[in-house]
């Protein structure tokens, strides 16, 4: 099976004053296409850092990250902009919806930004919102929606540009049990239906078990479970 992510010798050290804080130590991992990999670990174990490095929001201290054959760690700002637009969809623990935009606009905006015609982006956003069960909430603003609904909008937003890779950072960490379950179900169903690769980090072991491959991050090192 072809690989979508190839990480080799990855190190991340945060320099805070006199002390160096090593968060990731020699991470080596290959992730196959259409796989849903879940990574568990304690708070502060470096799960989010790993996702930030793969998404190009942060840069490694050493090592390489290849996504779809492209070196993310050596991309310039323009390349990173294209990469984040077309190759990855990000879902965060907090929804980070834009409060001044409706649900439909929040979902459509990354598509519009990446060069889609506004009408096309809106149609696609509508389809995705329908898939997450929010077709009745298109014109609602984030502040008019529940936490679960907001996170479902964020899930739809991650898929608007049809990226190959979805990176989810504790996507249900802020939700109650009922909403967590609903978002999980929707997320895994979408990944399967759209044949995406997902890398999900969580400290929820039940959620982690739903991944087709499971790993654990501890003391900056990654172990297969």
């Amino acid at each position: 099976m072809s690989k979508i992510i190839e990480i080799a010798g990855l190190h991340k050290v945060y320099r805070t004053g006199a002390e160096d804080l090593s968060v990731l130590n020699d991470i080596n991992v290959s992730i196959a296409k259409n796989c849903s990999l879940t990574i568990t670990g304690h708070s502060g174990s470096g799960k989010s850092t790993l996702l930030n490095l793969i998404s190009g929001l942060d840069f490694p201290t050493a090592g390489s990250i290849e996504v779809n054959g492209q070196r993310v760690d050596s991309m310039n700002e323009v390349e990173l902009t294209t990469y984040r637009s077309f190759y990855v969809g990000l879902i965060f623990q907090f929804h980070y919806l834009l409060n001044d935009f409706t649900a439909l606009e929040n979902v459509m905006l990354p598509g519009y930004m990446s060069g889609q015609k506004r009408g096309f982006a809106e149609e696609r956003a509508f389809e995705l919102l329908k898939e997450v069960g929010l077709e009745e909430r298109l014109d609602h603003y984030p502040l008019q929606m529940s936490g679960g609904e907001r996170q479902r909008v964020a899930v739809a937003r991650a898929l608007i540009n049809d990226p190959d890779l979805i990176l989810a950072d504790e996507p249900t960490g802020n939700l109650d049990e009922k909403n967590s379950k609903m978002v999980e179900d929707i997320l895994f169903a979408l990944i399967e239906n759209h044949q995406k690769t997902m890398l999900l980090v969580t400290h929820d072991l039940n959620l982690a078990e739903r991944g087709t491959r499971q790993m654990q991050l501890e003391h900056g090192e990654l172990f297969e479970l």
């Binding site: 989010s48 930030n52 998404s55 929001l57 942060d58 700002e77 323009v78 902009t81 294209t82 984040r84 637009s85 077309f86 990000l90 965060f92 907090f94 980070y96 834009l98 409060n99 001044d100 935009f101 905006l109 990354p110 519009y112 930004m113 990446s114 060069g115 015609k117 506004r118 603003y141 502040l143 937003r157 540009n161």
Partner: protein
């Protein structure tokens, strides 16, 4: 170069941020910034329009009554009608009037001598220079110098002489062509008309009489001056070239710019200083907008981080905030221009209303407090003709200056926004999205 689609989404986001607050009924920072800009533009347009009104009023009075646009000093005492016709044939020449200025003393029946400049003009001045009469504004009697020893004087001079239309005044001058032959001459003149130009200096020290009537006051050596008025006074240099080709190089025509250089220079300096001082408003407004947008950038750091994480370049996010500044500058500037023009055009009504409101309020307070204290009621007036030598506030709106003010405001806003937008790159998206 931004692609069309990129511009579209940036405008879409910037417009939404600009209108933010409308939806949740709060007042956005953009609103306050736009109000700041519009108040600045309003103030500047109103101040400059009123200043223009006063200055252009002075300038017009000076040029139309006294200095003319171009002056030619003739070496002759007699009027050269051929010269007049030749100069009149120049396209930009509107009118030409020969005159002699005489320094005299004037005395009314019950007054002391007053110094007075008498301008001796042809009897048909009203046809040769109709604009002179329009600006002189004869309020009593008429500008008729056909009868011998008749005079038209300014209203302030008439008041100080205690003279009215039909009264007699004495004009004294020293006639003679050398110190030895100088002899006082005293001639009685009948006041035919009184003018009120609105320019105090002329109203208090100037009079007009005919060539025929002034003969007794002159030495016979005074030379004529031809006062020329132009259709476009700013084309004075070209017209002087045309006139020189007719009259020859010997006589030097003098332009209004040259003749009134110090006074008009002072007016210009006054206006530039005023514009610079009032223009400081835009510095204040610019700093205000920068702080507002700084706050807006900080408040929206999550949005910025999110936009960056879903594929917006730092430049694109910066452009959103610059576009917001552009919208603030344009909308604030436009509202300021409209309201500034409205206030400028209606300034006299506004002053009248303010006077009426203050008067009504003081009377009301006086009535309420009348059982306890007696407050006398004075007619309150913001712009009273009794204090100023004008009946109403003169206003002159110059289109290019309005455009310049709008441009200043707009530029201040865009520069402030550009400066604030620089902060966008200070945020690290991963840190904001992780920790907030």
């Amino acid at each position: 170069m931004l692609k069309k689609n990129k511009i579209e989404w940036i405008i879409f986001v910037a417009l939404r941020y600009f209108k933010a607050g409308k939806r949740d009924r709060s007042i956005s920072t953009a609103f306050f910034s736009a109000v700041g800009i519009s108040v600045g533009v309003l103030a500047m347009i109103t101040i400059i329009s009123i200043m223009n009104g006063f200055q252009i009023g002075f300038i017009d009075d000076i040029l139309e009554i006294n200095s003319y646009h171009i002056r030619i000093r003739s070496g002759e005492m007699e009027v050269d009608n051929t010269l007049i016709e030749n100069i009149k044939s120049i396209e930009n020449v509107k009118s030409i009037l020969p005159f002699i200025d005489l320094q005299t003393l004037v005395k009314g029946s019950y007054s002391d001598f007053k110094a007075c400049k008498i301008r001796s003009v042809p009897v048909n001045t009203e046809t040769q220079d109709p604009d002179l009469l329009r600006y002189l504004n004869v309020t009593r009697g008429e500008f008729n110098l056909k009868k011998v020893n008749t005079i038209v004087i300014g209203s302030e001079l008439a008041a100080s002489l205690g003279a009215d239309v039909g009264d007699t005044v004495s004009l004294a001058s020293m006639a003679g062509d050398s110190f030895r032959s100088l002899a006082p001459v005293d001639i009685q003149f009948t006041v035919e008309g009184i003018f009120k130009s609105g320019y105090y200096e002329y109203d208090s020290t100037m009079g007009f009489t005919s060539f025929q009537s002034s003969k007794g006051l002159t030495s016979g050596k005074e030379t004529l001056t031809y006062g020329i008025k132009l259709k476009d006074r700013y084309k004075d240099a070209e017209t002087i070239r045309d006139i020189s080709s007719i009259i020859g190089a010997g006589n030097c025509p003098v332009s209004w710019r040259e003749y009134n250089r110090s006074f008009f220079g002072a007016l210009r300096m006054e206006k530039i200083s005023m514009m610079l001082i009032v223009g400081l408003i835009f510095l204040v407004v610019g700093v205000n907008i920068k702080h507002s947008l700084d706050r807006s950038v900080y408040k929206r750091r999550q949005d910025i981080a999110l936009l960056r994480s879903v594929g917006a370049s730092p430049g694109a996010v910066k452009t959103i905030f610059v576009t917001e500044g552009l919208l603030i500058g344009f909308s604030g500037g436009l509202i300021g221009v409209i309201s500034g023009l409205f206030i400028s055009v209606n300034i006299n009504n506004i002053f009248a209303f303010a006077g009426w409101a203050a008067d009504t309020l003081s009377r009301l307070i006086g009535r309420i407090l009348s059982p306890f204290v007696n407050i006398p009621s004075y007619g309150f007036s913001v712009f009273s003709p009794s204090y100023f030598y004008l009946n109403k506030v003169p206003v002159k709106i110059l289109f290019h200056e309005v455009l310049l003010i709008f441009f200043f405001a707009f530029t201040a806003s865009v520069c402030a926004a550009y400066s604030a937008a620089g902060k966008v790159t200070e945020f690290t998206p991963s840190e904001i999205l992780h920790y907030e």
